[in-house]
């Protein structure tokens, strides 16, 4: 090939410039790193490059989508009938629950009005499909196929049918990146459903474990307690289940108990997630800040 000789001819004048170029690029990288780490001025740049990566994600996702579509369209009639009846039963069950919930909600608003509490927050939900999960083992990040065009914003809560999944960290035009609650850099304010004890759940980097590092040894918490989002901090709407306490180890010589919990949502199995918009009359009850940091 012609490339090899030309390479050799031109290399000698190129060599000193190479070191200089590396130094310049390294300096530029470090500048970018520091800027990106300290604030989010680079979001626009990130979004622009993200839009260029989007077609790649579609191509990568295509075989999986085709496989799922094939699986669905070739499912036997018997399977479909079984699934149909199962779904019907499930629908009836949830419908019954929903009726009770409607009554409870009405009662709740009445009581709140009596207490003159802040306006109740209603939630609007939209389903988004996950395009890829965790390309990088250092971060538990997923990409969904809804972006700012659909009204997604940074810091928005993501749920699945069982509980909180994570929050949006970067809303692109057509797709958004979200961080899972199991990401080692993620922490969310929670409370124990049984007694309202407030604390913080921190991701561990494992999909099936969250840590509650700030509970004193005498805290009233037991195995099996349900932890729900407390709504403090504003990123997550209150009341959605987050995790179930799996183990509580009280060590007398340590100031804090070692408590770990299993996330309610199946973080590594979700295929669709729900994005939550809090609709409220009172603008102060909805804070849309990207609170990914602890």
């Amino acid at each position: 090939m012609a490339a090899a000789p030309t390479d050799n001819q031109h290399r000698s004048p190129n060599t000193p410039a190479l070191g200089l170029r590396v130094l310049l690029l390294a300096g530029l990288s470090i500048l970018l790193l520091v800027t990106d780490h300290q604030n989010n001025h680079l979001d626009a740049t990130r979004k622009a490059i993200g839009a260029a990566v989007y077609p790649l994600r579609i191509v990568v996702d295509a075989p999986i989508s085709v496989w799922r579509w094939l699986g669905e369209s070739t499912a036997s009639r018997n399977e479909l009938r079984l699934e149909n009846s199962r779904l019907n039963a499930e629908r009836l069950l949830t419908h019954a629950r929903l009726q009770r919930y409607a009554a409870l909600e009405a009662e709740n608003t009445r009581l709140r009005a009596m207490l003159q509490a802040t306006a109740n927050v209603r939630d609007q939900v939209r389903v988004a499909e996950i395009m890829s999960v965790s390309a990088n083992p250092f971060r538990h990040v997923l990409v969904v196929n809804k972006g700012t065009r659909d009204g997604v914003y940074d810091g928005q809560a993501m749920l699945d049918a069982d509980g909180v999944v994570g929050q949006v960290i970067e809303a692109g035009l057509l797709s958004s990146q979200g961080v899972l609650i199991s990401d080692p850099d993620h922490a969310l304010p929670i409370e124990v459903n049984r007694n309202g004890l407030r604390t913080i759940a921190v991701g561990t980097g494992e999909y099936d474990r969250l840590d509650l590092p700030f509970l004193p040894n005498n805290a009233d918490i037991n195995e099996g307690d349900l932890l729900v989002a407390s709504g403090l901090g504003g990123a997550f709407p209150a009341g959605y289940p987050v995790a179930v306490v799996e183990s509580v180890t009280r060590i007398p010589r340590e100031p804090f108990a070692a408590v770990s919990a299993r996330p309610a949502a199946a973080l590594n199995q979700v295929r669709e997630i729900m994005l939550i918009w809090s609709v409220s009359d009172d603008p102060e009850t909805v804070v849309t800040e990207a609170g990914t940091d602890e």
Binding site: T6, G19, L33, D36, A52, V59, V60, G205
Partner: protein, 163 residues
Amino acid sequence: MSKDRASRRLPILASIVFALMLTIVPLPDYASPFRPDWVALTLIYWAMNLPRTYSVGSAWIVGIVLDVAHGTLLGQHALALCFMVYITVKFHLQIRQFPLSQLTATVFALLALYQFILFWINGVAGVHAAATTYWGPVLTGTLVWPLLFMFFSGLRYRARASS
């Protein structure tokens, strides 16, 4: 000439894009720490063989795209790839003469350097991860390198024979 150059560059760009795609393909949990650094391997190959055309600049641009795709700090992979390719280009004449076994050992060292820079930046930025997430890609990357090398060399040999 320019058309000739474009037709020569296209397969190389395609290989880099394909490596990026392999990087974002979803893998099961147990396998994802052992995903080889396809982009790093591809860049090593092209920097070693065509150091004039594919040098630190292209590595930096690919690194920025990789940062966005991974959602890491902007500049992290760019810096790591840049240094790795710099070493490759600096010593490409020696590296080219190596037999495959020695070349593979060199690639191991290059990948380890790449992961070390990532590890170092993660440490400074306060991101913690298990040790396998750093060593896994180095080991599997070294294992797939001979195959990748033979694959690319075969392609280039064929392209040369046809032109």
